[in-house]
Subunit: 267 residues, 2 copies
């Protein structure tokens, strides 16, 4: 299934799942504001493409794809808050706290995070539910994404920041697609190798694009721009190699990996 068709699938599923009952209207509005219009939907695309790579049913992977997108967007809302990055704009419009005030933005983030877990509980059961829940909670929690954000504002090494802040949730996206698609152990291992390289490359490219703009520790500020580009290229090459193990079913995983490098050219 072509990537743009997958995006449509994700958009309509997100709209469907966001029909939540008994939510105060302002909170609903703030949650929708954070989610729509979205970015490239990179993480849910990874979920669906990983599911496709292992011959899974994409429709079964949709709820976990959306749950991960909710978690990604909660992290952006909290990241933008004045006490964090203090960003006034996100995707070309005022950030959530500029639009709704800090209290509602904070609570909308909390709601998106919590609702992601509700979504999992509604859509899955048995061992698959347990595995998806652990993947996502570990990747997003104190030893994953939240931990990475703390390291980013404190004492972390660049490698540790990248692994936790960005790679963990990208790896989890790929793995969750595999788990929802009933991947074999071998397939899941290949997906994990792919996801780790992709996640690291993704953050190095982010750092390359942000270089000079912010004071935080970045990959090029530590290793120089030349090595940053080399490492990103090498990681993506390796990711492509792992994706190619799925033959033609790995085409979208390849395309998503190439999209990461294309961000540098387009910048």
């Amino acid at each position: 299934m072509a990537l743009d068709v997958k995006v449509e699938l994700i958009e309509s599923a997100l709209r469907e799942y966001m029909k939540i009952e008994k939510v105060p209207s302002l909170l609903k509005e703030a949650m929708d504001y954070a989610l729509f219009p979205g970015g490239k939907r990179f993480r849910p695309l990874l979920v669906l493409s990983a599911c496709e790579a292992v011959r899974g049913d994409l429709r079964q992977a949709l709820p976990v794809a959306c749950a991960i997108e909710l978690i990604h967007n909660y992290s952006l809302v909290h990241d933008d808050l004045p006490c964090m990055d203090n960003d006034d704009y996100r995707r070309g419009k005022p950030s959530s706290h500029k639009r709704f005030g800090c209290a509602i933005a904070l609570l909308a983030g909390d709601a998106l995070l919590t609702y992601a877990f509700e979504l999992l509980g509604r859509a899955f059961e048995g061992d698959v539910l347990r595995r998806l829940l652990l993947e996502i909670a570990c990747a997003a929690g104190p030893s994953g994404m939240v931990g990475g954000q703390v390291l980013d504002i404190t004492e972390g090494s660049i490698e540790e920041i990248h692994v936790k802040k960005t790679m963990a949730l990208i790896r989890a996206s790929v793995r969750c697609g595999g788990i929802a698609g009933r991947a074999s152990l071998n397939e899941l291992q290949v997906l994990t190798e792919y996801g780790e390289r992709l996640g690291l490359a993704f953050q190095i490219v982010d750092d390359i694009l942000d270089f000079g703009k912010e004071e935080r520790l970045t990959y090029p500020s530590v290793y120089g721009m030349e090595r940053a580009r080399e490492d990103a290229n090498r990681l993506i090459e390796e990711a492509l190699l792992f994706a190619s193990m799925f033959k033609e079913r790995g085409e979208d995983l390849k395309e998503l990996a190439l999209m990461v490098l294309r961000r540098i050219e387009e910048a």
Copy 2:
């Protein structure tokens, strides 16, 4: 099992579960700061006492008791933030953001919430995991606690605020104790009736104790102090009646209900 022994069980379980690997030290410190020393551990006591009422194994209910306590404490940390209630003190010591700054307090709250779900995934499986996950996510999320907090700062009616902000998580605590203790449908129904009354009484008492201190909508400011006291008393009477259906196994549920009223006398 006496309530004070249950508290010891909860404290040592919380300490055990908080031995999380690979968490940045400052984040770990902030999470611990929010959790220890704790309050009365009212919600986890409800979980264990409900489990006891249905002849369940208390040790099996401990992880969900602790998960709910983590969620309660995340909500306190976020509530205290300057953009919310702007409280400088909590339980007689500086609130999390006064001690660690707003960014780390925000992230510690996010981490406590996410880790609560990880805990569930580690401790439970199968249908029990799914039911506990849904109970907690629904009670804490946009149509539960977070929704109640939004209503509290916007346009909500006092009844709707109370149901969502406080009652939902207290009812979920009681129900989760029942679910972990393999309650029958009938037993779960009685626990639910008990939990709803207890949760509503709890917030009315909170409002009575806060009356005049804050500008927010409170039960006595809407209905007068006399009716507030009457309603709290009536709700607790009803809760006691439901607890008594468990005979001597419901003693601690009764004691917890009486503790709610005792807060007025002690104030």
